[in-house]
Amino acid sequence: MRVDGGKAQVDFGEGVLRDVNVTLVDAKVGDYVLVHAGYAIQTVDEKDALETLALWKEILAYEQNQGS
């Protein structure tokens, strides 16, 4: 992500770049953002995502090698 004023260039994956309005979030270069209709509406923290998943696995008593 590259920020320029209220607009940022966001990488949607596989090289798809689009200008997105980032005035509604505190985002800096390198952050992940959730984009809706051309507006970033929230930043997404990868560390948070992994921690949550780890927590769910703990609650579910899930072992990594289970079921695979």
Binding site: Y32, A37, G38, W56
Partner: protein, 364 residues
């Protein structure tokens, strides 16, 4: 993003399904309701209902913002289009039936109707075409309303205005609890609406209605986990508000977005297609911004439209009373190529989601 794949991990999904089986009640049916077209997509696309015990049902409530726009508000857009105003809208809005015609039909008759990716593109078009009048059809729940607010507060050009059709989700959830024989046992609350409004607006569901409520994300693991969390609450005889989606949803939501919405909009009563009028469920531009309110600017006010065509059962699909395949028109008179009702038009409509998935299953 690597964790995206982890939230689709089939082995973990199977494990959650097993846990769901363990914690689900043995002798009674439970019914959970979500209110988001994207949740319905995840559930249908990944076949999540097939992983649940027969007595655990998940139904789709009014979660498609395009489907619930009343015909009267489409009629207003059509009237403006016919007057020569350029109507800009999201792609899904184009084919939504009005009382007499959709915007697509108006376009076929020569009106200037243009699809935009977002409201900022519409504003840009107005700046590029100062000799024409532009109106943006502002459809969407709390996820979309902040973008309309930012543009409305950002001094748009004089030839630009909004036809605001924004609606709010919590009042619709409250309505569902009043539908006598729906018998909902818990809510799966919409993650992206909640990214904006946060957790607080849902507090009344556990507190006042003793209704377990879990805010959930949109990957298959998110949805399964939320169902597990709801069942766990039921097994404990508890009713709590929980957040399955903390990587996006914070307790306070998005304060910047809420602040711009508050500055731009007043909350008012609004009509919902197939449902009727719900108090405090719609947004309108504040008096200071009346110059940008297309209804006032052009004097278009359609009070009552024809929401549901004869034979169409969108009104029952929208509140989760029936499944799409229980409508006699589903995939017969009403298909994605020739939709009759709004639920078949939008990619977030329950009928459309079911139609697309059923078609994909047939091929494979």
């Amino acid at each position: 993003m690597a964790e995206k794949l982890r939230y689709r991990d089939p082995a973990l999904a199977k494990h959650i399904a097993k846990k769901i089986g363990e914690v689900a009640p043995k002798d009674e049916t439970v019914k959970f309701c979500h209110v988001c077209g994207t949740h319905e997509w995840t559930i249908t696309h990944y076949g999540l209902r097939s992983l649940l015990p027969a007595n655990v049902e998940v139904i789709a409530g009014p979660g498609c913002p395009v489907c619930i726009v009343p015909a009267a508000e489409i009629d207003e857009a059509v009237q403006l289009a016919k007057k020569g105003v350029v109507i800009t809208c999201f792609g899904d809005v184009l084919r939504v039936p009005g009382s007499h015609m959709s915007l697509l039909e108006a376009k076929a008759e020569g009106a200037d109707v243009r699809i935009v990716y977002g409201v900022s593109d519409a504003v840009e078009m107005a700046k590029q075409g100062p000799d024409k009048e532009f109106v943006f059809s502002a459809v969407g729940f709390e996820t979309t309303a902040p973008s309309t607010a930012v543009e409305a507060l950002g001094n748009p050009p004089k030839n630009f205005s909004f036809l605001v059709s924004h609606r709010l989700i919590p009042p619709a959830m409250e309505l569902l609890l009043g539908v006598g024989d729906l018998n909902i046992s818990g809510f799966i609350a919409p993650g992206h609406v909640s990214a904006i409004i946060g957790m607080k607006p849902y507090e009344l569901f556990p507190r006042v209605y003793r209704m377990p409520t879990v805010v959930a994300g949109f990957e298959p693991i998110d949805v399964l986990m939320s169902i597990y969390m709801l069942l766990k609450q039921l097994s404990e005889g508890a009713a709590r508000l929980e957040n399955e989606y903390p990587r996006v949803v914070k307790w306070e939501g998005n304060p910047k977005a809420l602040e711009v919405m508050e500055r731009a909009f007043a909350v008012t009563g609004g009509n919902w297609r197939g449902i009727g009028r719900l108090p405090d469920s719609a947004l309108k531009l504040r008096d200071e911004l009346v110059a940008y309110d297309a209804r006032e600017k052009y004097g278009v006010h359609v009070e009552q439209g024809k929401d549901i065509l004869l034979g169409c059962e969108c009104h029952l699909v929208i509140i989760g009373k029936i499944k799409p395949n229980e409508c006699p028109m589903f995939m017969k008179a009403c298909t994605p190529a020739k939709p009759v009702g709004a639920c078949m038009v939008s990619s977030e409509g329950t009928c459309r989601v079911w139609a697309k998935t059923a078609a994909a299953q047939k091929v494979s």
